[in-house]
Structures are given as C-alpha cells and as structure tokens.
Symmetry: C2
Subunit: 518 residues, 2 copies
Amino acid sequence: MKPSDRPTAEGILFTDQYQLTMAQLYFRTGLHERPAQFDHFFRSYPDYGLHQAGFCVNAGLEWLLDWMQEAHFREEDIAFLRGQTGATGERLFGDDFLQWLRTSGDFRAITMRAVPEGRVVHPNVPLTVVRGPLALAQILETPLLNHLNYQTLIATKAARIRESGQGQLLMEFGLRRAQGKGANAGARAALIGGADFSSNAGISHVLGYPPKGTHAHSMIQAFMVLGEGELGAFRAYADVYPDDCLLLVDTIDTLQSGVPNAITVFEELRRKGHKPVGIRLDSGDLAYLGIQAARMLNQAGFSDTRIVLSNQLDELVIWQIITQIQEEAPRYGIDADHLIGRLVYGVGTRLITSEGHSALDGVYKLVAVQDQGEWVPAFKVSEARSKVPNPADKGVWRLYDRRDKAVADLLSLADEDPREMDRVVLHHPTEHTKYQTLKREEISEIEPLLVDVLSEGRVLYDAPSIHKMRQRREADLERLYPGVRRIMNPHIYHVSLTERLWNLKEELIHTAREGRLS
Amino acid sequence: MKPSDRPTAEGILFTDQYQLTMAQLYFRTGLHERPAQFDHFFRSYPDYGLHQAGFCVNAGLEWLLDWMQEAHFREEDIAFLRGQTGATGERLFGDDFLQWLRTSGDFRAITMRAVPEGRVVHPNVPLTVVRGPLALAQILETPLLNHLNYQTLIATKAARIRESGQGQLLMEFGLRRAQGKGANAGARAALIGGADFSSNAGISHVLGYPPKGTHAHSMIQAFMVLGEGELGAFRAYADVYPDDCLLLVDTIDTLQSGVPNAITVFEELRRKGHKPVGIRLDSGDLAYLGIQAARMLNQAGFSDTRIVLSNQLDELVIWQIITQIQEEAPRYGIDADHLIGRLVYGVGTRLITSEGHSALDGVYKLVAVQDQGEWVPAFKVSEARSKVPNPADKGVWRLYDRRDKAVADLLSLADEDPREMDRVVLHHPTEHTKYQTLKREEISEIEPLLVDVLSEGRVLYDAPSIHKMRQRREADLERLYPGVRRIMNPHIYHVSLTERLWNLKEELIHTAREGRLS
C-alpha cells in the first residue's frame, strides 16, 4: 500500500460498508443520536480440534482506544462516500448525512466500560460495553471486533503454550507468517498472554521489550560458500557476540557437526572468560536431539547453557516433547527436570495464527436503546437458544469460593449487586432446570469485572503496562481450578445469570415468540 | 498503538531481530556488501485438512515494493539499536555498523525478479528472486515473507471459493475476524484471487472498488425496540435505499417473518417503480431456506432478486449447498440452476483466515553468493530431502502441452533456455529414478515466469490493476487441467528440474555429505 493511502485504509473507513449505510438510515429516521448500548462478548472458547481452551485472556483494548482517539471522517473520507453510487447511478449518501459525519463522525460521544487487558475471561460475558449515539456505536462495531477478537485469540494461545511449557522462557517468532501488519498486534497479544519476548524488532521497541534472536541457517550457508564452513561461521558469531552466543546447530547435521562445532567455540569462549548462552535446535526429533545435545554439552562442562527449541511448536508439541524427555532422558543419564529447566521455546506460525482456531467468534450485539429517557432492552431471537444474547444493561461479577478459586461469572441486571444478596442464585444461561444456589458464606469474594474506560470520549482507562497485564493474568490463572486450566478437555467454567436477568430474558423470548414485537 | 509509534513498528524494524544481529556480523566480517542471492518460494500447497489446494495464486508483490521504497533506518531506529544491550550490559550494535545502516540501510541496492501477481503458482518454484548486498537482502527476509505469504494464502483461498461457487458473485466480509490491520492485505488478496467485492470500506476505496453491504440484525432490533418491528425496519431501509434494497431476513424467523416482510416491502417498491435487489440469509440451513425463500419470492413475482448467503461459508460448505439445492429444489418446483444462478456468497472468517491452513509456508533461502566476481551456489542439506533448496541462480519456465494446458513448471540453470532444446528432460526434484522427456513438438509453449521487478532499487514492475490480475488468474486457471483445479485431492502438478540443475544439486549434496564444505 502506498503510504498516502494509509489514513484511508486504516482510519474510520476501517469498517464494514453496511455500518455506513445503516448509519445513514438512522440519520434519515432521526435515530442516529439515539443513545444505544452494544455488548461485545465471544460465544465460545477456541476449539483447536484435538484440544480446547477452558479460558481466554482478554487483550486489545488499549490499541482500540488509541484507534478511536484518532478516527474521524476526514474530508477525503467524506469525498469517497460522496462518490459512491447505487444501482441506478444515483448517490448513495446524502449531503446532509455527510455534513453530520463531518461534524459528529467520531467517537467523542462514546462511553465505554470493559474488562481490563490481561484478565482471564469466559464466553457470553460482556467484555466491552459501548454506549453512545446509535449511528456511531454502529460504525464502531467492525473496528472494535477487529481489535479485540484477534488479540484475545493470541493472548489465549500464548497462555496455553506457556502453561504447557511449564513456565519456561517463551519467544514469539511469527512475524513472517502473520497477516501483514497484524503481526504487530499478534506480538503484543503474545507478550500479554505468555510470551517473554518477541523476535519482531519494531513492536518490541514500541512496547519496551528487547527483541530476541541470534542467527539463521543462511549465515552458516554464506560461510560455507566462502569455504569457512559451520565452524568458521560459529567462530565469527562468537567473535562478534562473545557474551550473547547462541548457535543454531542444525544446518548440516545436529549431532555430527552442529553441536560438536558449538562446543569447540564455547570452549574457546570459556578460555577467553566468556559465558556461552546456548544452542538452538530447529529440525528433527527435538526431544531426542535435545537429550543428546544436553549430554554432549554436559560432558564438555556446559550444563547451564540454554537449549532453544523451534519448528512448528504449539502447546501439544511442547507437551509431547516434555513427556518424551521425561521418559527418555534417564536412559542416557540425563536428569529430565534439569534438561526441561534449560529449555526455551521459540514459537512462530502456530502462535501468531492460533493454529487450529484462527479467529475468535467475538460479536457486538445491541442490548438496549433509550426511548423517552428510559433504557429499553433490545433483543434478538435465534434458532439456536445459545445464540440469544443476554438483553439490557448488565452487571458482570466473578464469584470466588472459600478456597479463593473462581467458580462462576455472574451476569446481573444493572441495578442488582450480588454483594448485597444473602444467597446468590446462578441460572444456567439457556437451560431452565439448571441452577445452583450459593449461600453468602460459601463465597469468599464477589468481584465486579467491568471498569470505566471511556466517558463521552474521554479516556478513563489507565492502560496497564504489559508487565502489569502479565501479573494480572498470572493472578487470575492462579485462581482457576486446575481442571479449567488444563489444555485438553477442560472443565467448563460456569457463566450464569441472576434470577431477575433470567426472567427478563425469558419474558422477552416469550414476547418475541408471540410476535408482539415483530 | 499510538500513531507516533507506527513508523517504528511498521518501518524497517518490521523484521526479526536476528536479521539485524546477522547484518552486523556480516559487517564485522566484511561480507555485508557481498552480492548474494536469495530465492523466495513456498514448499507445499495449503492443506485444509479435509481438502487441499492443487495450485496457489501469487499475490502481495506490489505492497512489498511499496514498503521497500519507504523503509530505511531513521535516526529513531538507529537510536533504538544503539540502546540495545547484551547479557553483560554492553551495547549489542557498534557505532560503525550503525553508521553504515544510517547511510546504506535501505533497499536501493536490491535487484529483484518475480512472478507477477495474479498468476497461478506451485511449490518450490522461485516466486521472488532477490539479489543485493548480503546484509540488506538478509534484513529483507522477514518483511518479504510477511507481505507475500499471507496475500498468496488468501488469494488462493478466494480462488478456491470462487471455483466451488461456480463463478457466482463473491463478497469478502472478514474485517472483524482478521489479524488487525492485516485485514486490508487480506481483502486485497481476496479481490485478486476471486472475490468480486469486499465489505471493507477503506481498502475498497484505496483499490478503487465499491465496498458492498446493506444492514445487520442490529438495525432490525433497534426498530423492534421502538415498536416498529421488522417490517418497519425493512420499510425504512427501502425508503432510504429504494434501488439498492437488499434485506437481511433472519432476525426473527426467516420463512415466517423475514421473507414475507421483505416481499411486502418489495411489492411496495415495485408499485413505486423500483427494482428490489434481494435478500440475505445468515443462519440456519442455507440450502433449504434458499429454496423456500426462492419459492416465495418467485410466487410474488420476484424471481430475479438476488439471494445472498453468509455464515461460516467456505469452499466445502458452498459445494454442499449447491449439491443440496440440485437435489432438493426440484421437489419444491424450483429450477435448481436458476436458483444457483441468483446466489451471492458472502464469506468472512474462513476466507480472511484461510481456515484450516492459516499460514503459507513460504521461505527465503540463500542460493548463491558472489566470490571473486563469480556466483557460487549456496546450499543447505537437510534431513528431509524435500527440504533441500534448489541451488544457484535459476530460470523458471512453464511448459504447455499441445492442448495448451500447463503440464509442468521447470527450473533450469540461469544459462539454460529450454526454448532452444530439442527435447526437455523433466527431473523429479527429489527422486532420482523419476523423470520424463518431452519432445519439442509435444510442447506448444515454453513461458518464462519471472519478470524484472527492481533494478538496484528502481522499480521496473508496472504493477497491474486488480482487474488485470484477475484476468491473469482466470487465464492461468483456464490453462490448468481440471484435475489440478478440483478442490479435493487434486492431481499434483509437476515441478521439475533440468538435467543440469539436477546434476548440480546432486553434486552439492554429495560434497556436503563428504563434509568438504563443513
């Protein structure tokens, strides 16, 4: 894309055309500035095929807010809309509507509450609650979902990979396999969700993390062409980076050539008083090669060097590698825990694309419209009961049991505060007969999840640092039961409705079925 | 991201850290300006699990070139590198290297040949051939792959969806489910590969295509809240867009409410002299509902209105819908072909993410380095024979048989021209015993695939319009055998080596195995 086209492609027109045609319709019918509320939530956890998520990690909010601060209808955008024609060749958008966009077409009138980034979140729970003029809240739908769906998807995948890697150092390597510039959003989300570092230099700089990486096969090849071979390449690398020497050992043959050459160079470094960092394995049976490489490194007295693994890793592959090391290492006289403790994972494609489930199904649904000063719940029936959104303005609460573990997220009507209830009834969101009553003394804490983020365009969200978001994630994960955290067939966390919200929903379904609203 | 951070995150630092550490190593060893050649190619067609691609559609080049024209090391980028430290706290990058980046750190010295966008392409065929100073060609690796991998992936998916939709109108709807700003690259690639239009307003504007879209469920809901119901919403829409009236009919109940209300409004439009466009179905059994909706529309005299289908479509779902319509429509007195001919497909998530195979495995391999004025082939052995790249500078040719169908892509040494050969020997790239000899008279055309794109930074590529790329794609698809085009278990297209290239590769493998290069 030409640089001059960026403001058009990434500004307020970074939305679906139908948001604009609907906005004009609201304008024509006098509804464009009618206060309306939309809830953003996702419907189901990522299901990667062989394995499924039992939680997600919320991400993307700060960048959405940054985008909203900037986005507005510039003259060029207006000119584009003015040039659009319909089937008969007549203009699609009228001058009066365009004039309104020119003066009011931005997000200064939007008020927003949201779950902060880094928090563990669950399906059907409003993560972002948008209130504002109907036409503008409508235009916001697509960019909001674009920003939040993807980052939450990747933060979730990163958290899973971190879990399966038992907290070992995790690097995000996906820039070359991402969707264009989306790579930057993905790297940020990976850092929030569980990656320690990214190889992506630019975004690491922006976020204040040192980017990580050493060298590729091509460096070895170049030295081979010039007759200096792998050993020459390793020596050159050690010369330039004597205290940051991490060598990729699989260009020729990992155990016959790469590891022995690395050890030669490490010994030279040691003699000069430097401490080599380690090796990287990027092909073959990583568990087996890891064990053999560890054996050779240990024998040479380099038992504290790192062994970085890369090549199509994800949470299942890492789990398999660890399991295989646990079984196989002792046979070669290697302490499995020690080896596992020196591993570092470099994860590219399968993290940045959330392999197996490449899009979160986040949606943005109208839940209330103001009419004569009153908020009226909006509603949508659907063939699938599970797709009927929860109507009205709501409270969102997390309940912890006496062991301080999260047991349910509870959606209430806005004027309900479960902290003031003696007993809390948790209704299953769709099944009438399923509910559970918790006495107040069974609950150690009831925590409201939404915080104020925007008040009529003014940012109230004190965006936490990536470091704080990670702490938030760790703390939330600590408070989940292990069954919910496990990477295959997790226990399904409860998301429930209060009795009054359940009743309102039932009533609206009933009314809709009776056709009184249609 | 703050707007002020964009030049850092999306400029020349939009690369992997190891490219920068390697670049400094080349600088230190005096190799940084050594002419080198890298080939970009992908290794295998996307495999979506239940179905597989038999061809890809090349895309992304123009945007890569746009990026390269702009990218250079700004003072801010240099400052960032200057601030990076290694394990001991010492600076990672030296001032002399940074000074070189300041004066030479851009792509003005790069020469490039490439396969034009829109062309049908196959694995292991060099699609982009980069020559230039080793350090800069190295830094280019990651952004080149980022730009080309994703767009080729999506152009390919779009071409498949278009094939399965039998050429009916196809809309790209994926903005909300893409990887952040990657959505724009995805929409562009979809337009090249097979989509007629996109819902993404901004990028459509940039590319000169009208964005498409009408309204969402939320518009109906808003009218329902205000007591005007679905019919009121439809009437309002028809009022504002009388000649572009396409109504979403599944908010309440498709056949009981949506279609009857749409027909009422269409009749009102007809009386006023307008021609309604059609309806959109977004849930349920789309084949069944399509048939029933067609029946109702036909009975009301609207047999030429469009029926837009959306909701988790991809090439298999569309194939299934068409098959079901062919079987089921006659039972309801509906002409299946007529119905299929009025369908329009709106494809979101599964197109923009290439569901089932979310990253193309494109790579960028060093194939030659200049030494004392001579180009020396670079090489990399690998455990998997299929992963051994084809060395040296090469010619890339497409052979057509007497029926004017493409039968093979042929890689030759740079000084070979198969057009001058009496007989062409096609060697299987990895299996010694597999080869085939074509006599010149069996070949109707031998076409060179690479064109000059950049000459020492100067753009030679006359970037074709999207329209031209589509024509190019159509023409290439026409010249494929149907077995290669089919969406499941396609026939595998031949990618072959000339005898001389095969021999060179064998020789290099042998030499490497002998350890003479290591």
